[in-house]
């Protein structure tokens, strides 16, 4: 309708030019807690005690007397409870939310050093897909928070199309299977069949902490332990939910168009 066309034109451009520009739309949005080992009072376990998803754990350090701290950001739901519980400020509020990684182990921070790496997954090469990528999304039991942020990707602010990335209705046309949720018992077969229906080469993006590890819905009689149990994963994006900019960062990472921000559980290195 002419009315709306005129209205749209008068409104001007609403789209951000992030990641080239600065406005990612996440002013004030907090991310995962940042760990400051030098401030940690060894022997205190307050952070692990309040952690709802066992993302923070202590294990016996062997020769060292103090228990060893380990943070698995793949389990973190960014609830900020550890930050409030820590008496010495070793857990800091941060804006570290762009947590997309290729290797699950890169989400694990271990006080004693690098966690053991598993065999590296051989992702199919992405060349030829960098400027046009089609995604089939499957909700495998999310809380709808991830869907809300995925839907936001196509709003005028993020306008995912500008990056050559599209959602597609059919798995037959999809290059990427983007899964949210812990994969409930009733969605297991559905996820598998959708994956099998996709042509090669194909990639899987586990979106949100539930999809990475099961999150708050892990275990129990109906929940799952994440996408990795069922299909091979190429990109992990923890977050509860990951905000639209974090999802964009992860998709660009898959296409080798953005760097990985996290290595061995440390952000910005």
């Amino acid at each position: 309708m002419a009315l709306w066309t005129l209205y749209g034109l008068l409104e001007g451009k609403a789209t951000t030019d992030w990641p080239n520009g600065k406005d990612d739309g996440q002013e004030g949005v907090v991310g995962m807690p940042r760990y400051r080992p030098e401030k940690c009072d060894k022997g205190c376990t307050a952070c692990a005690d309040v952690c709802p998803t066992r993302a923070i754990t202590f294990s016996e350090g062997g020769a060292a007397s103090a228990p060893r701290l380990s943070i698995d950001y793949g389990r973190c739901v960014a609830c900020q409870l550890c930050i409030e519980a820590c008496p010495t400020g070793a857990m800091e509020t941060s804006h570290d939310w762009a947590f997309g990684v290729r290797e699950r182990t890169d989400l694990v921070l271990d006080d004693a050093g690098a966690a053991e790496k598993g065999p590296e997954r051989q992702s199919p090469p992405r060349s030829g897909f960098r400027r046009s990528l089609h995604i089939r999304h499957v909700d495998a039991g999310s809380c709808n928070g991830c869907e809300s942020e995925l839907q936001a990707l196509n709003n005028p602010f993020y306008n995912l199309h500008r990056l050559g990335i599209f959602f597609t209705p059919s798995p037959r046309f999809a290059d990427v299977l983007l899964i949210t949720g812990p994969v409930t018992y009733a969605m297991r077969d559905v996820v598998l069949r959708t994956y099998e229906a996709m042509p090669d080469p194909k990639w899987v993006v586990a979106t949100g902490t539930c999809a990475v590890s099961g999150g708050i819905a892990e275990g129990g009689y109906a929940g799952g332990h994440g996408v990795g149990e069922i299909v091979p994963v190429d990109i992990y994006v923890p977050g509860c939910p990951p905000n639209p900019a974090a999802i964009i960062q992860a998709l660009l990472l898959l296409l080798d168009r953005a760097p990985q921000n996290v290595s061995e559980g440390r952000y910005g290195k």
Partner: protein, 495 residues
Amino acid sequence: MTARNLIACDAGVLHEKARLLLQAGGRMQMAYAWYPAPGRTELRYLASRKAGEPFETWRVALADGSAQSLAQISPLLGWYEREITDLFGINFSDHPEPKRLVIHEGVDLATPPFSAAYPPEHRLVVRDHPDPLPEIEGPDVQRLPWGPVRADVVESGEFVFYYIGEHIIHLHTQLFFKHRGMEKRFEGLTAEAGVTWAERVSGVGSFAHALAYCQAVEAASGCVVPRRARLLRTLLAEMERLYNHLHYLGHLADTTTLKVAGAEGKYLEERAKQLNGKLTGSRFLRSLATPGGLRRDLEPGHWLADALGTLRKEIEEYAKLLERSNSYLDRLMTTGVLERKVAFDQGATGPVERASGIDRDLRRDHAYAAYGDAPPVVAHETAGDAYARAKVRMAEIDASLALILRILPMLEKGPVREPCAPVGNSEGLGWAETPRGSLFYAVHFGDDARLKRVKIKSPSFSNWRVFPFTVHGSNMMDYAINEASFGLTIAGCDR
């Protein structure tokens, strides 16, 4: 908060009691089961009488593991009873639809998931895929299964249409693919820890869920939330309504193929979410509510009032344009009519029931948080079609903005949190009017003051039951518009 009365009730008189309640203009709200002690099972029915009167919880001890269905008197209870059958193995005699609901057919339920004998880490297995759907035979009747993986970015659910040409004869909704067993996840948690789970039952209702849960805990422990926290909670609950309703309008416009209006609605939603992020650190208003108040104080400076004022002007302009778009209005008017009686009997809630001439709103009728001091303007319509549902929400957007702007100057300095520790063997009921309707949390604490049973009644559980009634006899072309006009989520329903 208006109180709640706990009434012990004999199984024999339940039928009559429910009948009298309905006759007097009351309504059943939900039903659930729990185990007060090993070997003892109790059914709970939540009933409401007139606005302002306390809720009633009827407790019925079960002697032999079976009960009589009340679905013939109050149809909306049908789903609750089926849920209890799936999760607790309790059978209801004379049930009009004695079928699985929450757990899919083809899953072995010899040991029901909530029973004490259920192995803690055992996951349900789908053994086979029987076809429980009705056979509809006749010339030209087609059956179209759609889902659980559907077009676009949507939640998982399966919809089976039986239709002739454009005419839909029957819609079968197969939900609960997303059932995560959330209620059971609460077992053994402390009252404070439970909030993290409540916030993640339905992402776009994070704050309302946290609020209803906290209020249930507060009712159990008898603690009083400071005024500043109550006002801030009210403000946050309205911020949640704002972004949800803006999303709703954008999505609805999109289904009528009004693309610019769809984009504008989503853009306004994004702006509201960015305000959430700036104000609280979370686009979904998480990590704030806690039993006894808020985890930390918020300082909504002048910038918030200014930003909301600007947003309000743009929303007004947007709503005016929608009202002038004939193609949009034409697709909504007379689409998906929900009769008042069906809305009441089947338990419609929120904007859906208010669009069908039922003037109910928990914020006003059973005021909580600071809604007593700052009552909302409650919009309602009578036509019951998609247009009426959209109009109610449009009016609610403006009412929410007005309420937020009224609350901001009411915020005086003060504490935002009181200690709140429930004692052993206590219980409480909490509620909230979410953007989608009534939400209830019933919490029970065990000897150790840890959660023993949490029951969640989400608004979408009510409205999904109602929705197919508006589809039968309608046409395929209107389906997407009708579904959008209900504004449903699946996560909250499936849990």
